[in-house]
Symmetry: C2
């Protein structure tokens, strides 16, 4: 959702009015799918990272990349635009006033932010371990929240997240973007649990393994001893070179 106006914003930068971007940043850790959320200062209200588009200098996607870097500390992140939210009810003046006051701001709330906004939804897929979550100036928390433990979300961010997940689900087998969520090396079981949380259903282990191996994009590494009382699983690595060759052939 719309990032609040900082001092920088007020001095010079000019945003396209009435348009924001919101980013559903997915990460994967401990076999759980997570989303990066902000919490507004002195509230229990959470929200998606978001921002506005610099009128002179930025494509929409560039604005998204800027916000992504601000919140996660990293660049070159897998991005997908999944929808626009333009209901006439998308004017959140009261909520913004509340957030503004809770943050202890003494200045007058900028009028423009209370107007109706159309927001463009993007989702990002990244390796959670690489990130250093960083709150903005109206948030006191920025961090990873499990997809199954969503807190109260501001604005219409709940439905934006649902749409993002649905979109991710549809793309799962078409693109192989899911590997952006995985660490450098992982076991089949790790990968399977990611697929299962995204799809929201259990998959059959042996057939899943067959399918993944037949993609021809996984490089097998050393075995991985868990300490468990059983055979060790292999680690795999997503092989970008093989993937690129595959894409060329299409």
């Amino acid at each position: 959702m719309q990032k609040k106006v900082t001092d920088e914003d007020l001095s010079g930068e000019k945003f396209i009015p009435n348009i924001s971007v919101d980013i559903v940043i997915f990460g994967f850790h401990n076999r759980q799918l997570k989303i990066l959320l902000l919490r507004f200062k002195n509230t229990s209200l959470y929200a998606l990272p978001g921002g506005f588009i610099n009128e002179e200098e930025e494509d929409i996607e560039e604005a998204v990349e800027r916000v992504l870097t601000e919140r996660t500390g990293i660049k070159d992140i897998y991005l997908e635009q999944f929808g626009v939210f333009g209901s006439k009810k998308r004017a959140f003046g009261e909520t913004h006033k509340h957030i503004h006051e809770s943050a202890g701001k003494t200045t007058e709330l900028n009028q423009w932010i209370t107007q109706r906004f159309v927001t463009v939804g993007y989702y990002a897929l990244l390796n959670l371990k690489d990130t250093i979550p960083n709150p903005d100036d109206v948030s006191d928390f920025c961090g990873w929240i499990d997809i199954n433990e969503m807190p109260t979300l501001a604005f219409d961010h709940k439905s934006i997240i649902e749409k993002a997940l649905e979109s991710l689900r549809m793309m799962l087998d078409l693109k192989l973007a899911v590997f952006n969520l995985m660490p450098e090396s992982f076991t089949m079981n790790d990968l399977q649990s990611l697929y299962e949380t995204i799809l929201g259903k259990k998959l059959q282990r042996t057939n899943f393994q067959r399918k993944m191996l037949s993609l021809g994009i996984l490089e097998r590494l050393d075995k991985h001893w868990t300490g468990g009382a059983h055979k060790a699983a292999y680690l795999y690595r997503f092989d970008k070179n093989k993937y690129n060759e595959m894409q060329k052939e299409k």
Copy 2:
């Protein structure tokens, strides 16, 4: 792209600034896929139907529906949002000036339309026969143009159309929206040629027929005599009831 400002617009209606909608309206006739285009007065410049969003009263989709009805005369059309185009280069002041002058307008060109616009792309699927294409006040032509004979298009409408087609192609087997393009009754061959133009490749007749029949949503009607020196083909009808039952089971 952005519809030009009419007298109505100037008197009272208030649009969200910097945002437009553009609609790729698909129709199918004579075994050819067509798009509804406008041609600006006294030019050979074509463009997609489009418009702006009433700030007080309209969801984005409602604005799209309004424009659709204005240009085609019909309501309740299948709609799908396929993308947002927000390049920083999307400011078309010079083109608008040219269109404005060619249309013989003596008034000053409204400044707001020369600014940067973010446009939301929708595609619509409808039965071409039901429509009465209707130009707007800066166009002298509104009609169906074959997808393979695209004229020079204004703004970035060429790439918007390409993206729409790509999106339609991806959705082809996921949804069964394609039937919105067909007339009340049609032969398998008609349907196949539609699939072939969308996919841009030939399909095998017998297997296509098997696939369509196995969907369980086609009702077989009488035979259809073409006058050709061969067996008559059956006509089929898309059975909405069967389709709805199918969806419920999912």
